[in-house]
Amino acid sequence: MNLDHELNRVLARTSAPDGFAGRVVARLGDANAPRHWHWPAASTLRRLAAAVALTVALGGLTAHQIIEHRRTEGEHARRELMTALHIASAKMRVAQRAVAHD
């Protein structure tokens, strides 16, 4: 078998079958047409709902922890502030007493 001859035969230019161009145009028309949306399967919906619920729960828990941490920090700061002002005012009082005695 002559390889050149065989290649020429296989790669030889041939005409498209009748109606080929029409079918391609028709398929293109189908591709551009709006597709109909279908509900996902029930199992997919269940997984999606579980993922959303988990995300909301974790988000809520984290938000609660942040708020709780901030509240604890704020209460601690409030107590420290009151202690500091108690001490400062007590020392001012000592000075006031001495001034009053003069």
């Binding site: 509240r71 020392k91 000075a95 001034v99």
Partner: protein, 189 residues
């Protein structure tokens, strides 16, 4: 290269602006006395910087009289720092350590009250003044078994701070501190 030059210029401008900002707000003093802290049986260490001070302010009650006054007092302040050391025995700490704090006071600081007592409590009160405005306060109190130092940074209302005594359940003794402080200094120094 241009971006680098712009960054460099911004850095220089920012670093030059810092001292001016600090000057306007008063300066925080270093109150740490590690030798005293090591010997003390009880220590109170309060460090409330600007953000913590604002956070504390949000948690102050507006119905409690003490806390309502405190809320007004901290308005505009940038820091409150307290170190208080209590010792088991008299004379257990070196009073001269207070000099480490006094040496930090610049020319804007003025002593307004000095109370000296051989047996009870020595109290020195200094204010950091910028023009007519008060930009900071320092209280140094030395008792036989206790040493306390308070530094308030920002526009302290001295009258209000002195007035807190009545708000904290202790009766007013005198409201004449501001009028008499000059005389007081003469008598006790």
């Amino acid at each position: 290269m241009t971006r680098f030059l712009i960054s460099l210029m911004l850095t220089i401008i920012a670093s030059a602006a810092v001292p001016f900002t600090a000057a306007a707000q008063g300066t925080r003093l270093n109150l740490d006395l590690p030798d005293m802290a090591a010997k003390a049986t009880e220590t109170v260490d309060v460090t409330l910087d600007g953000p913590m001070l604002r956070l504390a302010g949000k948690f102050l009650s507006s119905t409690d009289a003490d806390e309502r006054v405190a809320k007004e007092m901290i308005n505009g302040l940038t820091g409150i720092y307290v170190r208080s050391y209590e010792f088991e025995h008299e004379g257990e700490y070196d009073k001269t350590q207070a000099e480490r704090i006094r040496t930090q006071l610049g020319p804007t600081w003025k002593k307004i009250v000095k109370v000296a007592s051989r047996t009870k409590e020595d109290v020195d009160i200094y204010v950091d003044t910028r023009g007519d405005a008060v930009a900071g306060l320092l209280i140094i109190s030395a008792e036989p078994k206790e040493f306390t130092v308070v530094n308030i940074v920002g526009p302290v209302d001295i009258e209000k701070l002195a007035g807190l005594e009545g708000q904290f359940g202790i009766p007013h003794i005198s409201r004449d501190l501001k009028d008499k402080h000059g005389k007081k200094e003469d008598h006790h120094e």
